[in-house]
């Protein structure tokens, strides 16, 4: 196995045992990027010089006895995260020459933990999208089928991990933007609880919905990363002072007697029959492992997408109204179509004469969704659900119909609206295309999600099936 194909867990072991150095590991990733990224377009910026320096530093730190938890591990970052001194574009022409003026908190924590930054990842501009096709830097391609999208908006994040260009990638999830690409690219994607990870220094999309998460090859790797990024940050007032446990501690305790709820509203005729079958297979695996499966109801599910597209676009319009094009970046006229669409929808929903009918109504609807979940979590420990209503779709298939594209988020938006965490895990292949499912839990239940995800992963090991590029 080449070094870039290792999991974080195995790489840390190899580094500890002096089988190879961080410089070796980083070079392996950089070579892989050189070899395949022109086909995939996952990276906007590759910071080869900086990465090499950071890798050497990590090797020095290790020699001096440092036990930093991600010491020497190469990672990449969605271009929504500010990285000091490194170009940060948010996937948009507007910021195509913008150099980050400070590091996001998540980046600072990863740096302190010894991780090595490989570069910045391509994404839908401003995180507005579900396929990567809204990037101003060209679409990102699915490594399992170059004619299909990898999902979005953390497209480059999913692809870089799936294609073994990077051992880990940071992403953001506002309506499914980590879980959907994870599902389309056979990788693990974590949307943490809202406020679990600081949003400071990440370009704001919808401030009450944005979740700072990451994509990895395996569930254990995901837990290792969350240990580093999670926790109270004085710079993000929405990070409560909730303890950060060791997320790897309970990960192998299995699912015996864990109650898994399956929402009946998600399994209607709108769901692709293939996906329904794959979910049923996953449930069979869980039953075999000792979990208890129960049908549950989320009665307000059918309103979730409409509620989301009002609240999200309202907040987008407010956040992007702060963009003046004076302190940095280009003029507002450089905003792309999708950004303009969302800004206008949000401005409309908040405008005089419509505010009550749209925005206030959506806020009330959100409370109803919350009650649905509060009720359900009294009966079950976690919920298992599909991530996408369809298999990874072809490039161009939904680009002419914005509403069609929005419907990709139908199963993912609710977790953002109610603030709960969600873990997307590889669930197998249909017609050689990857498909994942998601595990949802109550606020701050990430340990449980990892435990449930790991149990399935141990039985199936889908992550070992690498794309042939």
């Amino acid at each position: 196995m080449n070094l870039n194909e290792l999991t974080i867990k195995d790489a840390l072991l190899g580094l500890k045992n002096k089988d190879f150095s961080s410089l070796d590991l980083t070079k392996s990733c950089l070579e892989r990027i050189k070899k395949v990224d022109n086909k995939l377009n996952a990276f906007i910026t590759v910071s080869e010089k900086e990465a090499t320096e950071m890798a050497k530093e990590a090797d020095d730190r290790r020699k001096n006895g440092s036990k930093a938890p991600l010491l020497g591990i190469p990672f990449a970052v969605k271009d929504l995260y500010l990285t000091k001194g490194v170009k940060t574009t948010a996937g948009s022409h507007v910021l195509e020459n913008y150099i980050g003026q400070y590091d996001a908190t998540a980046i600072t924590r990863l740096n302190e933990a010894g991780a090595v930054l490989l570069g910045k990842l391509n994404c839908d501009a401003w995180a507005h999208g579900s396929s990567g096709e809204n990037s101003d830097f060209g679409p990102i391609l699915n490594p399992y089928d170059l004619e299909r999208t990898p999902g979005g908006s953390s497209s480059g994040s999913a692809v870089s991990v799936a294609a073994s260009e990077s051992l880990m990638a940071m992403g953001t999830d506002t309506g499914g933007s980590i879980r959907l690409p994870a599902s389309f690219c056979n990788v693990v994607g974590l949307k943490p609880t809202y406020g679990r990870v600081s949003r400071y220094g990440v370009v704001a999309m919808a401030s009450s919905l944005d979740s700072i998460g990451h994509l990895t090859k395996t569930v254990s790797d995901s837990a290792i990363v969350l240990n580093v990024t999670a926790g109270h940050d004085i710079k993000d007032a929405n990070t409560p002072d909730v303890e950060v446990p060791d997320y790897t501690k309970e990960i192998n305790t299995g699912v015996k007697d864990i109650k898994i709820g399956v929402p009946k509203e998600y399994f209607t005729s709108g769901l692709d029959g293939n996906i329904k079958r794959e979910i049923e297979k996953a449930l069979n695996v869980y039953e075999k492992l000792g979990a208890k499966i129960a049908e549950i109801s989320l009665p307000h599910s059918k309103y979730a997408l409409a509620i989301y597209y009002i609240l999200q676009t309202s907040e987008v319009s407010s956040n992007l109204a702060r963009y003046d094009g004076i302190r940095y970046g280009k003029e507002r006229s450089e905003f792309g179509d999708e950004a303009k669409r969302r800004i206008m929808l949000g401005t409309f929903a908040l405008s005089a004469g419509y505010y009550e009918a749209y925005y206030i109504k959506a806020l009330k609807g959100k409370e109803l969704l919350k009650s649905d979940f509060d009720e359900v979590f009294k009966k079950v420990d976690v919920i298992l659900a599909p991530v996408s209503p369809t298999l990874p779709f072809r490039l161009g298939e939904k680009t002419n119909d914005p509403l069609e594209m929005y419907l990709s988020d139908i199963f993912t938006v609710t977790a953002n609206l109610v603030g709960i965490p969600g873990l997307s895990v590889p669930g197998g292949f249909i017609n050689d295309l990857p498909l994942g499912f998601q595990i949802l839990g109550p606020h701050f239940s990430e340990s449980k999600l990892f435990r449930v995800g790991k149990a399935y992963e141990k039985e199936t090991n889908w992550y070992q099936r690498k794309p042939i590029i």
Partner: protein
Amino acid sequence: MEKKQIAKKSLTKEEVEHIARLAKLTLTSKEVERFREQLSEILGYIEILNELENRKGNNKDQKHDLVNVTREDRAETSLDQKDVLSQTKEKSENMFKVKAIFE
């Protein structure tokens, strides 16, 4: 008088232009028409929320019981002024240059 119902919505050209002005976006007439159609379609989907007309809900957002998160009013170091000004040409003497508001 605030409308409480989401009306069967097809946006007019004037409404789109009004929204664009509010949002400080400049649109061509082709864009106005294209967005008018697309936004109307999306708003059509959102009409489903009319079914929630008579539900009661409170607006409290109590995810973490975080209320008025504050810190001591004490001056601390912030970003370096050089870094803050580094990404624009619109500056003069350590200040951002903006359009005049007063004549």
